[in-house]
Symmetry: C2
Subunit: 176 residues, 2 copies
């Protein structure tokens, strides 16, 4: 059914890395699987100087969305067995990195900004990850009460870390 060779890409123009996210995590194994599992782990978002002017007023926000490329994830899989479950799930019902387009989002706490560097807390991201966007976290836009949370209901993410299941083979070999 799924044919990754099918080319729907013509409609999506090329994207640019706007910077790089520096974190303590070199390998998927041991990386917190979400911001909620990352505690006070700190990282630095280095925005390329060409884009730094767009950081004006960002310091006023307690939390920001980082949108980034999951550049060391394995090829997309439409059915995955996520970290927090022992069942196979549709990839769009999970936050697995093995997803089409490999886009990740994390609402991290913003500690400070110095020139083009954002110091952040709660990183669940691999070191060297390409940054695609930064947005302010605004409760009116992002903060919703929900009663139904699918298969995540009752799962606890606290302290949960990743393993190599969604890591590209060449990234694993490069790491070893």
């Amino acid at each position: 059914m799924y044919n990754p060779e099918l080319d729907f890409r013509a409609a999506v123009p090329g994207m640019a890395a706007l910077g790089v996210i520096r974190t303590p995590f070199l390998h998927a194994k041991g990386t917190p699987i979400q911001v909620a599992a990352a505690g006070n782990t700190q990282g630095v978002v280095e925005v390329y100087p060409e884009f730094a002017e767009g950081l004006k007023d960002v310091a006023g926000f307690e939390r920001i969305w980082l949108i980034y490329l999951l550049d060391r994830a394995s090829a997309p899989q439409l059915i995955v067995r996520p970290y927090l479950d022992d069942q196979e799930r549709g990839v769009f019902a999970t936050r697995s990195s093995a997803r089409p387009n490999h886009i990740g989002i994390s609402a991290v706490r913003l500690l400070s900004i110095e020139q083009n560097c954002l110091f952040v807390e709660g990183v669940d991201i691999l070191d060297g990850t390409p940054l695609l966007d930064i947005k302010p976290y605004v409760p009116a836009f992002d903060h919703f009460e929900v009663a139904r949370t699918g298969w995540y209901a009752g799962k606890s993410v606290h302290g949960a870390t990743a393993d190599e299941r969604f890591e590209a083979q060449d990234a694993i070999e490069r790491d070893s």
Copy 2:
């Protein structure tokens, strides 16, 4: 300072549209500026059949993130005057569509799924927008209490709609 000709794009592989988002909004002017302003406006996310297998288990979630390409937005501007303000702000301190990479995110309410179509409520998105990703909205990952919301503090988004300020000129001409 900002030179859109600089090519950082080599590091970001091409992305594919995974589907198309159908909504009642043909033009930026009059489109709700956020989910919170969209009320019960309904839309349909048509996932291309090749990716439909990844929708397994999505129906269990009350709300989902749509990640999409703001394909009719104007060229990136690092400084913008956002809809809710009369001051110029850094684009990364706003949710303006005139941002590098033109990535939009919206946490919409999921009403139902029929085959490869997701019926959703609260759309603040133009008709025909290319879909880049779907993720489940999970409070543990997405729902944070924040005290500081920068220049958005005290602004109300209810009933706010867009105008053509961030729309590409050719999209405006095509519309007229």
